[in-house]
Amino acid sequence: MLRRMVLSAAAAAAPCLRNAALLGPGALQATRIFHTGQPSLAPVPPLPEYGGKVRLGLIPEEFFQFLYPKTGVTGPYVLGTGLILYSLSKEIYVITAETFSAISTIGLLIYVVKKYGASIGEFADKLSEQKIAQLEEVKQASIQQIQDAIDTEKSQQALVQKRHYLFDVQRNNIAMALELTYRERLHRVYREVKNRLDYHISVQNMMRRKEQEHMINWVEKHVVQSISAQQEKETIAKCIADLKLLAKKAQSQPVL
């Protein structure tokens, strides 16, 4: 029981000890805590951009710095030369056929690296840059698309604001059309009424004319009836005498 108390006190004190507490057999059944640490994979720590500095392509700079206080600048080189000469003289490293193949292979490799190393590095960097540029382009294209959509939406909204002009014009048009129809109908009514009235007037005129004609005919008929035969002969003889007189008068006067 004392052990359990100690373990629980320790678990309260430090979080890392909680996991240790679980290992204690039969202790702390209630508090099972898992995954108290960070998830191991994310976020991925950034890579260093350049590797550590090396001299002669193999030996890190730190080694030279390490030997510098005791042996100065030439120390590591002397150490290296000494080791090589020692191994050669004591035949720890035997010069065999392999030595020459080693010289030719390593020499070739060093030559190739010195000559083409930088350009191959640039090529690798260019590959990475191309990949980033491609993704960047996708991103920019997406942003551009969304920006275009926003602009289109804004212009649509602006158009909607100006829609009332269209409605006013339509309203005016309809009002004018209504007015036109009203006036047209008014005019038609007027024409119809005038037609009717004209008809009555013309009927009246015709009646009066007919009456007049009838009266004139009646008067003429009675006048003709009243003229007796005797009067007719006298009138005709008088007319002939007048005519003769006129003829004589016309002959006597000079022609103008």
Binding site: A97, S104, I120, L127
Partner: protein, 226 residues
């Protein structure tokens, strides 16, 4: 001298333990996994190379053949890297051992043949008789074609072994000649050394070419059978 010549081809063991297993597994750590979107230079170049090679190598295959993509790419990477590492001084090249090359060639070849027989039996059997052979020659030609079929894995393995072994042996011998000639006449030694350099360049090329040829032939056998 005789013992020394072939000593580099003996399976290496340290204190009686076969460390050849470690040596065979070693090239795999030279191909790191790409963990990020933008990796370091080594991984970028390796990715680019693998993309280039796989596109070119898998172009001739149909859907069924392309399921072998991983196998073929692993093959060419393994053989290439093992051959190139073997050019370093005092190193052991696993591909000089006939046992290992047979172990690579026979299963792959058998895989292609069995695939062909399973899925396109008639076409696979038809490969035994080239088109347009005159009638009396048919039996002999079938026998010849069968022999040529069974020779394929042997040829694959022996080709790789012989090339790499011969190259290593030549380098060893010419290096020995240079060593011996230094005391006799320095200029001849120098000329021999130049020959050695040229040979090394050749060996670098051969290392890559042999990997390519091996994989190409396997892919060709695959193409015939899918």
């Amino acid at each position: 001298m005789n013992e020394n010549l072939f000593a580099s081809f003996a399976a290496p063991s340290m204190m009686g333990l076969p460390i050849v297993v470690l040596i065979v597994m070693f090239p795999s750590i030279l191909f790191p996994t790409p963990n990020r979107l933008i990796n370091n230079r080594l991984i970028s170049i390796q990715q680019w190379l693998i993309q280039l090679t796989s596109k070119q190598m898998l172009a001739i295959h149909n859907q069924k053949g392309r399921t072998w993509a991983l196998m073929l790419m692993s093959l060419i990477l393994f053989i290439g890297s093992t051959n190139l590492l073997g050019l370093l001084p005092h190193s052991f090249t696993p591909t000089t051992q006939l046992s290992m090359n047979l172990g690579m060639a026979i299963p792959l070849w058998a895989g292609t043949v069995i695939t062909g027989f399973r899925y396109k039996t008639k076409a696979s059997l038809a490969h035994f008789l080239p088109q347009g052979t005159p009638l009396p020659l048919i039996p002999m030609l079938v026998v010849i074609e069968t022999i040529s079929l069974f020779i394929q894995p042997m040829a694959l393995a022996v080709r790789l072994t012989a090339n790499i072994t011969a190259g290593h042996l030549l380098i060893h011998l010419i290096g020995g000649a240079t060593l011996a000639l230094i005391n006799i006449s320095a200029t001849t030694a120098f000329i021999t050394f130049i020959i050695l350099i040229l040979l090394t360049i050749l060996e670098f090329a051969v290392a890559l070419i042999q990997a390519y040829v091996f994989t190409l032939l396997v892919s060709l056998y695959l193409h015939d059978n899918t």
